[in-house]
């Protein structure tokens, strides 16, 4: 991913007339995001927070250039909304919707491959470039412009870390919640690559969770390709491990998916690791 992907000059909101869509459109506008239009099929002509509503992205594109969409469409229709955005060649798709079925995500990942679109989410709090753009639901008043980049699988831990750093006077260049689902768009490695290559980023914060092997893969990438300092915390040190894994799942997941194992992998890769969120925030200092 390139940093220009997040410049978000012309943002639309899919599902703008729903409860979350309305509430968060107002918050995004207040944070300075240029929301030019929204969609809800069948509700063309309505207005939400002075933003015009259209039936479809195609209708918006007759009048506007669109570079980013933020999706609040309910889970049963999220696949169609993402397909619509891919078909419309929107470079950045941020899907906030929680509960998108796994089989829908398999189809979405197939459509994304080879398309010109990048997907953040689903089940993501979105992205904040403090002082510039809010693309999603991360509370902007807790952010502070600066040179630290945060990426997290957990929405609430994204807020927690951002707020903790802001309170210490450590500002953020990027705050990205990748979303907590098992199959998602952008992952840790895409974000680490973005952070490493952006000269406006001095240091990186990575927050993982138990389950899967994304943190191990991130650790491998950090060891080989990241020169900037990385601070990491993996949530779930006291969570019961493996309870949801079925027979075949356990066979497939050969690597240890525990917080301890992931923390160890990240530490071996050179990251500064903590075993609690408060410990993580204490670890991080402004090294400018």
């Amino acid at each position: 991913m390139k940093s220009t992907l997040f410049s978000a000059q012309n943002v639309i909101v899919q599902g703008i007339t729903g409860g979350h869509g309305r509430f968060q459109t107002k918050a995004m506008l207040a944070a300075g995001t240029n929301v030019v239009a929204g969609t809800t099929p069948g509700k063309a002509g309505q207005v939400v927070e002075d933003v015009p509503v259209y039936d479809s992205i195609a209708d918006i594109q007759k009048e506007h250039t669109v570079d980013t969409t933020v999706i609040f469409v309910p889970a049963p229709f999220a696949k169609s909304a993402i397909f619509e955005a891919i078909t419309a060649h929107i470079p950045l798709i941020v899907c906030i919707t929680e509960g998108v079925p796994i089989h829908d995500m398999i189809q979405i990942k197939k459509r994304l491959a080879g398309s010109g679109s990048s997907l953040i989410g689903p089940n993501s709090p979105g992205v904040i470039i403090p002082g510039v753009n809010k693309l999603g639901i991360i509370p902007a008043n807790m952010s502070l412009p600066g040179r630290t980049a945060i990426v997290s699988r957990s929405g609430t831990l994204t807020y927690e870390t951002m707020a903790g750093l802001s309170a210490k006077g450590i500002g953020q260049r990027y705050v990205i919640g990748t979303g907590g689902d098992r199959i998602r768009g952008t992952g840790f490695i895409d974000c680490l690559e973005l952070f490493e290559n952006d000269p406006e980023v001095d240091q990186i914060v990575l927050i993982g969770e138990i389950g899967g092997t994304d943190e191990q893969l991130a650790a491998d990438y950090i060891a080989t390709s990241v020169t900037k300092p990385v601070f990491a915390y993996v949530a779930g040190h006291h969570a019961p491990v493996g309870v949801q894994l079925g027979h075949a799942g356990a066979i497939l997941g050969s690597a240890d998916e525990s917080a301890a194992s992931k923390t160890e992998a990240l530490a071996k890769a050179g990251a500064h690791v903590a075993t609690s969120i408060t410990g993580l925030i204490e670890l991080i200092v402004d090294n400018k």
Binding site: P101, T156, E209, H238, A239, H247
Partner: protein
């Protein structure tokens, strides 16, 4: 959601996969069966055979006694509501076959092994056939399976089986579909001897699912029933981090609770009630950082819980994020303090626990 064996086999059968002739037995039924018959306890856990949950009955005389014993037998804490009675298969060989989702690759994978049965977990993962499968590749996958099992004469049969299995997996929004053993019978048929199936709860909106309730609630998990501190947080990550922090602070967390994004008063009060059932709770740490949820809704629920539940242990509340000011107003009217950080909550809870 994990299905019971008979529920999973019913879905297999509807997809054209052969299952043993069977009937279902509930408590107080007087079943008419053909002997010998295999009785299988329907519990949502593995290791049934070793625990005595699968019994072969050869005649009518011992039937009722065996049924009663199976209904009373607890396996890893589960007691069955249902028994599955099946014909006894004439087994020539047992294979392993499953479909799973390879999450990093976002693909459906077919896994197979030449030796099925209870010890399949001990096979080294590398020795499994493991191939990606999609609607376009079911025929190829069936061919590969026949080659792998070294059963060239069964190629068409296995292609048909793989096609039906794939259809069953996708149509039911399954995340795991495992046939183990896949029995090759003496008369040359493939029959699903046992089946494990898990469905994606997120897809419930497009199905008319009606399965036995397994009470698998992922949002509320007991970690230590003797713990002294209960935790309530929003979001799985923050809920895990809150548990980690309580433990790091030298206290024993009793539970993990993620109240999620749509926290209403009713569900939160119900959660408080469950917490008060733990015998040793001396403090409740509430840690909410609202994004899509709203702090004022959480505050209303806290106020309702305090009014409705007697002897509620002391609450140590940290709220932040969306609509914080409204929440602070509501709680201050009720003289319920909010602490600025999770650390302050932990420090205050620690005093309560050690006093």
């Amino acid at each position: 959601m994990k299905l019971l064996e008979y529920e999973a086999k019913n879905l297999l059968s509807l997809s054209g996969i052969v299952t043993p002739r069977s009937s279902i037995i509930h408590r107080n039924d007087s079943p008419q069966l053909t002997f010998p018959v295999v009785l299988k306890s329907q519990v949502p856990t593995g290791g049934r055979g070793k625990a005595g949950g699968i019994r072969i009955v050869n005649d009518k005389d011992s039937l009722q006694q065996t049924i009663n014993e199976l209904f009373e037998l607890s396996i890893k804490g589960y007691r069955p509501q249902t028994l599955l009675a099946e014909e006894k298969l004439a087994i020539a060989h047992e294979y392993y076959l499953s479909l799973v989702i390879d999450k990093p690759a976002a693909e459906i994978c077919l896994m197979a092994h030449n030796n099925g049965g209870v010890e399949v977990e001990e096979n080294v993962a590398i020795s499994f056939l493991n191939i990606a499968i999609s609607s376009e590749s079911v025929e190829v996958a069936g061919q590969q399976l026949a080659d792998y099992y070294n059963l060239p004469s069964q190629t068409f049969v296995l292609q048909d089986l793989v096609e039906n299995l794939y259809k069953c997996f996708v149509a039911n929004d399954a995340t795991l579909l495992e046939i183990n053993p896949l029995v090759f019978t003496d008369d040359g048929k493939f029959v699903a001897g046992d089946c494990k199936m898990e469905l994606d709860d997120s897809a419930a909106f497009r199905h008319d699912w009606n399965f036995e309730d397994k009470a698998a609630e992922a949002n509320f998990v007991t970690l230590d029933p003797g713990g002294t501190v209960a935790t309530i947080a929003n979001g799985a990550g923050l809920a895990m981090a809150t548990v980690d922090a309580v433990s790091d602070y030298g206290m024993v967390p009793a539970n993990f609770l993620d109240i999620g994004g749509g926290s209403n008063t009713e569900t939160l009060v119900a959660a408080f009630r469950r917490i008060t059932e733990y015998p040793n709770i001396q403090a409740i740490v509430i840690n909410v950082f609202a994004g899509i949820s709203r702090c004022d809704e959480v505050a209303r629920a806290i106020i309702a819980a305090k009014k409705q539940i007697e002897n509620l242990p002391p609450l140590f509340i940290r709220l932040a994020g969306t609509n914080f000011e409204a929440a602070a107003d509501l709680l201050s009217q009720e003289n319920i303090p909010i602490l600025a950080t999770l650390e302050e909550c932990l420090a205050a809870a620690k005093q309560e626990v050690s006093s």
